[in-house]
């Protein structure tokens, strides 16, 4: 077995390394103007600023999966705030501060608008790319339309600006890049960083853990927009020129290209590539103007096609291969400890779940009609019925207020109304999907912590050593052997282990009503027995109400306390196990073969 370390030990070691790198970076930045020629200093100021935005693009895209083409527009908003203020007002500390404030506020407001548009519940993942693309187009046209005020297509130049030497700007921009990269690095390695990756990996699963994905992504977008705007402000302050091209879609795409070249999800790679490419471009644009861009474009295609992880990681793995160090990296995983039992204020006699005349229709097609039943704690209700009976649709109607077209769903005495899944979860709902829905890129420990984040907030700068799990979740983790695999990346788990992990994750948020869509599909007989035993225990010892969709009738018969039979979107039978199993009606509609229900498989 591998040597497993605690996250805090690992972080401490990493932070020492980071501190050394930051010091080296700051020394280089401080000494740069003393050894570099004037032209290089001037170019590097711009390159450093671009590097900072590339870092924000990487956090958005590389870690969280939000592909924005409009980060250029936020950069240009900052630049124009500076340019417009200094062109139209006499320069003074007050004006400079007001301009800076305007740069941040406008970027923040525009980013909020974009987030509101782009992270709505029903739109596709690509939509944020569309909106940011449109943002950059609109920005350029607004500048064109601004006439003399914005300088139209020729931009603004020659305004009075800060009385700072190029060396000072170099140090400001360089230190800014070092600080932003370091802060970003700490952030993505924190527990919150795992959350970003989990959003990239499976947004729906996150929402069903009660995480407000739209707010997380919106918050990141706003923060990145403000950093980009700040960089733009510095750009205009130093260069004394702003142009509409700063905000166009081509520049927005170039930022994405740098991130892809440097290695998405590596932070340092994009920062280095942005600085290098911009710096070299400035030198070569004189001698080889078009060839250079041609090379960048061609290299970009090759990298995307052949090494999607980017140049940085490709280089690192090449070096690793050449020095042929054993690949066994140190495993890191948190300790599992039992969570304190939370006192529930809900009266035990309140039904866990009540459905009243729930219906779902697609146009004139009625998938569900008149579904009314009540589920109490300590009940394990199996929903059975042939394919197409509406079982999964019913689960969706219970867990997402937008889904049903009529009727009422009440969780622990509270009507779910039109609540989104993440808010239904707050009412005590847990849902396990049919196919194992997990976060492939995280470790088992990280997954459990993300799943628990609604109850124990994640730190944006450190990693907790302990994961507190309720007894039910601990029981699953221990009984299925996941405890020995805490440091394993989820993608390497077996199908059964993934099913168990998802169940443990759902239980980690301490639901009252647990909905399971064929939790034993694809499992071996022994695995199924373990899961069945756990489910019965959850009901008996932990007071859960479980709604189970299952096709394996022998399994259903063994563990259920009650069975509801759905047929063509209606409840045809609702009763005790023996009553339902021995019903002729059920035998006929479910299988067409009267003996199938009675015999164990």
């Amino acid at each position: 077995m591998r040597d497993v370390r605690l996250p805090s030990e690992r972080l401490k070691r990493d932070l020492r390394l980071l501190a050394v790198l930051v010091v080296v970076g700051l020394v280089l930045v401080a000494g740069g103007p003393l050894v570099l020629d004037r032209y290089s200093v001037s170019i590097l100021i711009r390159s450093f600023l671009y590097g900072s935005i590339a870092v924000t693009v990487d956090i958005l895209w590389g870690f969280t999966g939000v592909l924005s083409f409009g980060q250029s527009a936020f950069f240009a908003i900052g630049a124009y705030a500076c340019g417009l203020a200094f062109t139209h007002y006499e320069i003074s500390p007050g004006v400079a501060l007001a301009a800076l404030a305007a740069a941040l506020v406008v970027a923040c407001l525009v980013a909020m608008l974009v987030a509101w548009l782009a992270f709505g519940a029903r739109v596709s993942a690509l939509y944020v790319s569309v909106v940011t693309l449109v943002l950059s187009i609109v920005f350029v046209q607004v500048i064109y339309a601004g006439g003399d005020f914005t300088g139209s297509s020729s931009g603004l130049s020659g305004f009075d600006t800060f009385d700072l030497s190029a060396g000072a700007w170099f140090r400001i921009a360089g230190a800014g890049l070092v600080v932003i990269t370091a802060l970003g690095w700490i952030f993505v390695r924190s527990d919150m960083g795992s959350l970003l990756v989990s959003i990239r990996e499976n947004e729906t699963r996150c929402r069903y853990f009660g995480i407000s994905v739209a707010w997380v992504k919106g918050g990141l977008l706003v923060a990145s927009a403000m950093v980009a705007s700040l960089a733009g402000f510095a750009y205009a302050g130093y260069n004394d020129v702003v142009a509409p091209d700063l905000g166009n879609f081509q520049f927005g795409t170039e930022l994405v290209i740098w991130v892809a070249l440097g290695g998405r999800g590596t932070l340092i790679g994009p920062a280095i590539v942005a600085v290098l490419v911009d710096f070299v471009s400035a030198y070569l644009s004189g001698s080889l103007p078009f060839i250079w861009e041609l090379i960048i474009g061609a290299v970009f295609i090759v990298v995307i096609v052949a090494m999607p992880q980017g140049l940085g990681p490709a280089l690192v793995s090449l070096i690793r291969w050449m020095v042929s160090r054993p690949a066994g990296a140190i495993a890191v995983a948190a300790r599992l400890i039992p969570a304190p039992v939370r006192s529930t204020a809900i009266l035990p006699e309140t039904p866990a779940i009540e459905l009243h005349k729930v219906a779902r229709a697609y146009g004139s097609l009625h998938v569900l009609e008149d579904i009314t039943f009540t589920g109490r704690r300590r009940e394990l209700i199996s929903l059975v019925g042939p394919n197409g009976a509406g079982k999964t649709t019913l689960i969706r109607c219970i867990s997402d207020g937008q889904e049903r077209s009529g009727g009422q769903v009440v969780l622990q005495g509270r009507d779910i109304g039109r609540r989104a899944p993440e808010l239904c979860v707050h009412l005590g709902l847990g849902r396990k999907f049919q196919a194992p829905t997990v976060f492939d890129a995280l470790t088992v420990a990280e997954s459990l912590r993300v799943a628990r984040s609604r109850i124990e907030p994640l730190s944006p700068w450190r990693r907790a050593d302990d994961i507190r799990l309720p007894e039910a979740a601990l029981r699953v983790v221990r009984a299925t052997g996941l405890e020995a695999q805490m440091a394993t990346t989820v993608r390497h788990l077996s199908h059964g282990a993934k099913q168990a992990l998802e169940l443990a994750m759902v239980l980690a948020m301490e639901p009252t009503v647990l909905m399971l869509d064929e939790p034993t599909a694809g499992l071996t007989k022994p695995e199924r027995t373990v899961i069945g035993g756990i489910l019965m225990e959850l009901v008996a010892k932990h007071d859960l109400c479980i709604l189970l969709i299952e096709h394996d009738l022998a399994f259903v018969r063994e563990i259920s306390s009650r069975i509801i039979v759905l047929h063509q979107g209606r409840i045809v039978l609702d009763g005790g196990v023996e009553e339902v199993v021995s019903s002729d009606l059920v035998r006929t509609i479910y299988t067409g073969e009267p003996q199938a229900l009675g015999e164990p498989a």
Binding site: L126, S129, V130, V138, Q141, V256, F290
Partner: protein
């Protein structure tokens, strides 16, 4: 008023011609070909070469079409095929290709603005107004292209295979349809349609290495709201193109340039399926 009406329908025709190649590729391959703008530019320069060789301007569209199909074959094989399972990366790689195309054209032809001859000159009297013959011809071209694609989809084996791949690729494969070949053929045709569109729009405006970008953006938004349906694309071109004409005529050209992208983005927010039937 009649002039405005003709502007609306001919603009819709032009937009349809420009976007249809992107739609075809998106429909079958489920990837957005950001090199579409590059192909449009190549088509424009193909028309320029035809003009410079003193060939008949009628030769430009077929020359562009053939050139585009050949280039499309090459690009599908080398760049697009490895990225089928990574649609977002395909957007980026094809955008990289667009950059390469723009730089190659800049190296070859310079950054200057060029003009080509129009095969159809002059105006024709229609609905009580005198209207550009070429713009009217574009409407006919749009109808012909739309009809031809619909005909291929409905009436040929390749079309049947393409429809099967559009609906359910895995099932199509398991039924013995060579979906790799369908993708290859579709991408090549899509590229050819783009270059042909590039050559067709050049008589209406000037040619420069970056001419493809604004068209790409409009075409991209139109395809986003149309999904994979030719009819939806026609409707989207008519509605959004019409809005653009109206805004440019009664509002101002800057707003007009934004009309399609902004309206399409808002439409997608309100109705994620756009003009496509859900």
């Amino acid at each position: 008023m009649n002039n405005l009406l003709l502007d609306v329908v001919t603009t819709a025709g032009i937009l349809f011609v420009v976007a249809v190649g992107l739609l075809v590729v998106f429909g079958v391959l489920k990837i957005i070909n950001f090199a579409h703008g590059g192909f449009l530019t190549i088509g424009g320069y193909a028309a320029l070469i035809v003009t410079q060789l003193h060939w008949s301007p009628w030769a430009a569209p077929p020359v562009a079409l053939i050139l585009g199909i050949l280039l499309g074959m090459l690009v599908e094989r080398l760049i697009v095929r490895p990225l089928y399972s990574r649609p977002l990366d395909a957007i980026l790689a094809t955008w990289g290709l667009s950059i390469v195309v723009v730089q190659l054209i800049t190296i070859g032809f310079g950054r200057g603005t060029e003009f080509v001859l129009s095969p159809l000159q002059g105006a024709v009297a229609l609905l009580g107004t005198s209207y550009s013959l070429y713009r009217l011809a574009m409407l006919v071209v749009a109808l012909v292209i739309g009809g031809a694609i619909a005909g291929i989809l409905q009436g040929t084996r390749l079309g049947l295979a393409a429809r099967a791949v559009i609906m359910n690729e895995t099932l199509a494969q398991s039924l013995g349809i060579n979906s790799a070949l369908v993708r290859f053929a579709t991408f090549s045709v899509g590229a050819g349609l783009a270059t042909m569109a590039g050559s067709l729009i050049t008589p209406l405006l000037s040619i420069d290495p970056l001419m493809g970008v604004p068209w790409l953006l409009n075409a991209f938004m139109l395809v986003m709201v149309s999904g994979t349906s030719l009819v939806s694309l026609a409707v989207a071109s008519l509605v959004l193109g019409g809005a653009q004409v109206v805004v440019s005529t009664y509002g101002n050209p800057v707003l007009g340039a934004l009309t399609i992208v902004v309206l399409a983005a808002l439409l997608l927010r309100i109705r994620p399926t756009g003009f496509a039937r859900a």
